[in-house]
Amino acid sequence: MTGKSPRIELRAAPHVKRPVGVETIMRNVVLALLPIAAFSVWQYGLSALALLVTATLACLATERWVNRLAGGPNTLSDWSATITGLLLGLTLPPSFPLWMAAVAGFAAIALGKALFGGLGHNVFNPALVGRAFVQAAFPVSITTWVPAYAPDRFTSFIPTTFTLPFMTPPDISAWAKAAVDGFTGATPLARWKFENLLATPADLLSGAVTASAGETSALLILACGLYLAARRFLDWRIPVAVLGAAALTAWAFQFAGPERYPDPAFVLLSGGLMLGAVFMATDMATSPVTPKGVWIYGATIGVLTVMIRYFGGLTEGVMYAILIGNALAPLIDQYTQPRVFGARGRRA
C-alpha cells in the first residue's frame, strides 16, 4: 500500500459549480439596466430621473424595513431590490407622480417579495406586482403619457411629478400640447388599437415614441440583453421564445386579416414587450429551470401578450402575460423534468 491515496470528496451533487453568486449576477443586471435608465432620462429629462430614483429608493427602504421586521440579515447588498426598483421605474409612465411610484415600490417589495419569504421564494416578478398594484389603484395616472424630447425637459419637471401625496395629479394635456406640437397623448399601441395608426419601425427602434420611461428604445434593450446573455446571466431561450411566439402569433393574425392586424415587427417593437421579454420574463426566481420548460414558458408569455393586446380591454398585455407565465412556472417545471440518467421509464 502506498501512503498516498487520492482524496475523494463525498458530497451530494452538484459537484461542479460556477463561481458566480447571486450578488454578481444581480450587479450585472443593474449594470445592463443603467444604459436604458440613462436613455430614459435623456428622453424624458428630470422627471424620469426623479421617478427612477424614487421607485428604487422606495424598494430599498421597504426591503430594509422588512429585514428589520423579520430580524434577518440585511439583504440590500444583493442588489435584487435595486433591480426591482429600477425595472419598476422603467415600466411606469414618465409623468407618474412620485408618491404613487413610492406606493408601487412598497407594494413590489412587500407584497411581491417579502410576503413569500424574500429573494428566490417569490412566485411573481416583484416589479410587475408593484406595477399591477398601481395599475389597479391609479388607472388614470398610469395611462397618462407625455411626449419624449420635450425642449425644456432638463430644466423643468413635468407638472404631475410633484403631486402632493394622496392628491390627484393635475391635468397635463394642455402642458403636453404646449411642450411638443401636435402631441396626441397616446402610445403607439393605443393609436393602433383605437385609431388604426401604425408607428414606423424606425421610430420604435430608436425610441422616438410616447411610452413608459424605459420601454421605448427596442434597440438599446436588445443590446443590453445581449450583454447579459453573452455573459450567461440570463437564459437566452426565454427572450427568444417570448419574441418568437409573439411574432408567430402576430404573423398568423396578419395572414388571416391583413387589414385588421399590424405586422409582426410592430408587435415586437412596440410597448413593453422588449423590456418584458429581456429583463422581466427572465427573472431567475420566477421562471422554470428545465430547458424544455423554459421554451414553453416563453412561448406562453408571447402568445398571451398578443392575445391581450388584440382582444383585451387594455392596450398593453406584457405585464399580465408575464404574471400568468410566472404562475404557471412551477407547473411547467413539474411536467418537464428530464429523465434521470440510467432510470427506466419517464420519471424516476
Partner: protein, 218 residues
C-alpha cells in the same frame, strides 16, 4: 367556553372571548364572504356587523333555551330554521330603516343564514350552555365580528374614496385608490389586519410569558 374540569369563564371573560381570543374575523377567520364583500365602506360594514350580531344573539339565545328539548338528530335543521327566521326579521327591518343600506348590502343580508359564525356558535356554544352565558358569548362574538368588519371597512373607505362615513377627509383633490374598493383590496386589507393582530397577540403572549417567568424566578 366551559371545558369540563376547568374553571368556567367569568362573564367578562366570556364576552372578551369573541373580541380578542377567538375573534371571528382575525382569529377564526370565519364568515369571510360578507367580510370581504360588504366592507367597501364603514357604514356598510357597521350595518352588516349589527345585523349579524342581532341574528347571532337571538338565534343562539333561542337555541340555548330549547337545547334540552331538540333531539340530537335534527338539531342542525332546527338551528337553520331558527336562524333563517331571524334573518328574515333583519331583512325586513333593514329595508324599512334604510333602503340605501339595504341595496348596498344586497344578497349578503339573506346570506347571513349560512354565515358559519352563527351556526358554529349555535352548535359549539349555545347547545351546551345556559341562556345568559350564551347571550354574553354571542354579544362578544357579534362585537368582535363588527369590529373586524369596521376595521376593514374604514381602511377601505379611507383609501378607496378618501371618506369615512361618507365625510370627505382629505378635500376634493384626494386621489382614490381604486384597487381598495375592488375585491383584491379586501384581501390586501384583511391580510394587513391579520398581520397586525397576530403581531399584537404574539407581543402580548411574549410579555405575559416573560412576566410569568420573572414571577417564577422572583
Amino acid at each position: 367556553m366551559a371545558i369540563p374540569g376547568q374553571q368556567p369563564l367569568s362573564h367578562l371573560e366570556e364576552f372578551m372571548e369573541g373580541i380578542w381570543k377567538q375573534n371571528p374575523v382575525f382569529v377564526m377567520v370565519l364568515g369571510m364572504c360578507p367580510v370581504l364583500a360588504v366592507s367597501v365602506s364603514a357604514v356598510n360594514a357597521l350595518s352588516m356587523g349589527v345585523a349579524t350580531t342581532f341574528v347571532l344573539l337571538c338565534s343562539t339565545l333561542l337555541v340555548s333555551l330549547i337545547r334540552n328539548v331538540v333531539p340530537k338528530e335534527v338539531r342542525i335543521a332546527t338551528y337553520i330554521v331558527i336562524i333563517a327566521t331571524f334573518v328574515t326579521v333583519v331583512d325586513y327591518l333593514i329595508a324599512a330603516i334604510s333602503l340605501a343600506v339595504y341595496e348596498a348590502l344586497g344578497a349578503f343580508i339573506q346570506l347571513i343564514v349560512v354565515n358559519c359564525i352563527i351556526l358554529g356558535r349555535a352548535e359549539a356554544h349555545a347547545s351546551k350552555n345556559p341562556p345568559l352565558r350564551t347571550a354574553v358569548n354571542a354579544l362578544g362574538m357579534g362585537a368582535g365580528f363588527t369590529i373586524g368588519l369596521f376595521a376593514l371597512g374604514s381602511v377601505r373607505e379611507i383609501l378607496g374614496a378618501g371618506k369615512l362615513f361618507g365625510v370627505a377627509l382629505f378635500g376634493p383633490d384626494f386621489q382614490p385608490w381604486v384597487v381598495m374598493v375592488l375585491p383584491p383590496g379586501g384581501f390586501f386589507v384583511l391580510g394587513a389586519w391579520l398581520l397586525l393582530f397576530n403581531w399584537l397577540k404574539n407581543r402580548a403572549a411574549g410579555s405575559a410569558g416573560k412576566l410569568a417567568e420573572g414571577g417564577a424566578h422572583g
